[in-house]
């Protein structure tokens, strides 16, 4: 059978594209890792992307928008989506809980990173605790209950890559934020140490987040 040709379009950062890049790395799948600068985006790319957004995954020339839709598509293709419909539903639920958490965290995160104007201390006071409470107690419980060391089931899945990437950013940008959730650091280290992921981390372009 002919191989599928993949192009992943995103900005020159990890963020919501990184779980997809990590799944491709782990599964040994070749793809074009297209990184678009802000200037290139407005000048050339925005109106070529369905929904005027990135990330987009192009699959034999046909586009899929939205990072979670892309992640789930790749996860299903290459065995990162659990072994049963119930496991898949829990993988989806964690992905969506992460998205909800992200919406709650974003006001602080964006100001901290310099993407938006604002009072970083005021944003932190408002957002940091409530956002964390939406997600990390639940992930901690899953990790405590699952002997495999993965979040769901007994093999690495899409959301292991997703959570590990974000915890890595939190370690870099907000040390101390997850001090009550050491299991998340153990998990992140485990995923980063998977040979294919370790190799990818060593060769990938460097970015802040």
């Amino acid at each position: 059978s002919t191989m599928v040709h993949y192009k992943l379009y995103y900005f020159p950062s990890r963020s919501v594209a990184e779980p997809v890049r990590q799944m491709f790395a782990y599964a040994g799948i070749e793809y074009e890792d297209v990184r678009i600068t802000k200037e290139e985006w407005l000048a050339e790319w925005k109106n070529k992307m369905t929904f005027d957004q990135v990330p987009v995954l192009e699959v034999d020339g046909k586009q899929i928008p939205q990072s979670l839709a892309i992640g789930r598509f790749v996860a299903k293709q290459y065995g990162f989506y659990g072994k049963t419909p119930f496991e898949a539903a829990w993988i989806d639920a964690i992905a969506d809980q992460f998205k909800d958490y992200w919406v709650a965290l974003a006001p602080w995160f964006y100001v901290h990173m310099g993407y938006a104007e604002g009072d970083v201390e005021a944003a932190k006071a408002k957002c940091a605790g409530p956002a964390r409470d939406m997600l990390f107690p639940h992930l901690q419980k899953l990790l405590k209950e699952n002997k495999s060391g993965f979040l769901i089931g007994d093999q690495v899945s899409w959301i292991d890559f997703m959570i590990q990437e974000h915890v890595t950013v939190l370690e870099e940008e907000f040390p101390g934020y997850l001090k009550d959730y050491p299991e998340l650091f153990v998990h992140a280290a485990k995923i980063r140490a998977l040979p294919a992921i370790k190799a990818w981390i060593e060769k990938r372009p460097v970015s802040r987040g």
Partner: protein, 227 residues
């Protein structure tokens, strides 16, 4: 244990071979409605358990710690819980031919659902004030959040409907995202009758989806319709 209303759906049949489904949500449409409609369209009998809102009683406070993420809706399947409305809807839909005919179509169902969620995050800043759920400057929020988010989202849906030409959002048969969007259109049109007039395909889609016999029957019999 709790006193809250619960009703069995109308498609009860032989129980022995079938899983037992219980859906827990508040006694509103909200995030639960797409799940209820997906279950109805799949022909799955389920217990539609509706908790009073926190202001109206202690039931949610007691039940909250028994849910996986401290939120609802939660689907219980043979006693095992699944949280998050889209995860639940997709779990049901993908086992009943309601999640797209191919992996690529399923990705587009998911993409439209998430694009709606991003729209709703913005739009609800206006809508929830308009509907009286929160305080705020309705006119200002409509101008700053309501109209811009509407103008970003619904052209995409209008274009998608023109491209599929099937009357459905993805491929040539109904999927759970058709239910999600049609419900959203009904909510918006009820709150602001002219708001979607620039999107005739979107309005036609809502009519078509809500005329599907199992959905029509669900809507006619749901508690909100009888209030």
């Amino acid at each position: 244990i709790f006193s809250f209303s619960s009703q069995k759906s109308h498609h009860f049949s032989r129980l022995s071979a079938m899983s037992v489904y219980k859906l827990f949500y508040f006694d509103i449409r909200g995030r639960g409605e797409v799940v209820r409609q997906t279950l109805a369209l799949a022909g799955i009998p389920f217990e539609d358990i509706r908790l009073p809102r926190p202001a109206d009683g202690p039931q949610w406070a007691e039940f909250k710690s028994k849910t996986p993420f401290g939120q609802m809706p939660v689907l219980e399947v043979d006693g095992k819980q699944i949280p998050q409305a889209f995860a639940i809807s997709r779990f049901i839909a993908s086992q009943h031919g309601l999640a797209g005919a191919t992996a690529f179509e399923a990705a587009w169902v998911d993409a439209i659902a998430d694009q709606w969620k991003d729209f709703h995050t913005e739009f609800s800043k206006f809508l929830f004030v308009k509907l009286g759920f929160r305080e705020g400057n309705e006119k200002l929020l409509k101008a700053e959040h309501g109209i811009p988010s509407l103008d970003n989202f619904f052209p995409l849906i209008e274009k998608q409907l023109k491209e599929t030409g099937s009357g459905f959002l993805v491929g040539d048969s109904v999927t759970w995202v058709d239910l999600l969007i049609a419900e959203a259109v009904q909510v918006i049109s009820t709150a602001e009758p002219d708001f979607l007039d620039a999107f005739p395909e979107v309005l036609k889609h809502e009519q078509k989806i809500h005329a599907i016999p199992l959905i029509k029957k669900w809507i006619e019999n749901r508690p909100e319709q009888r209030r």
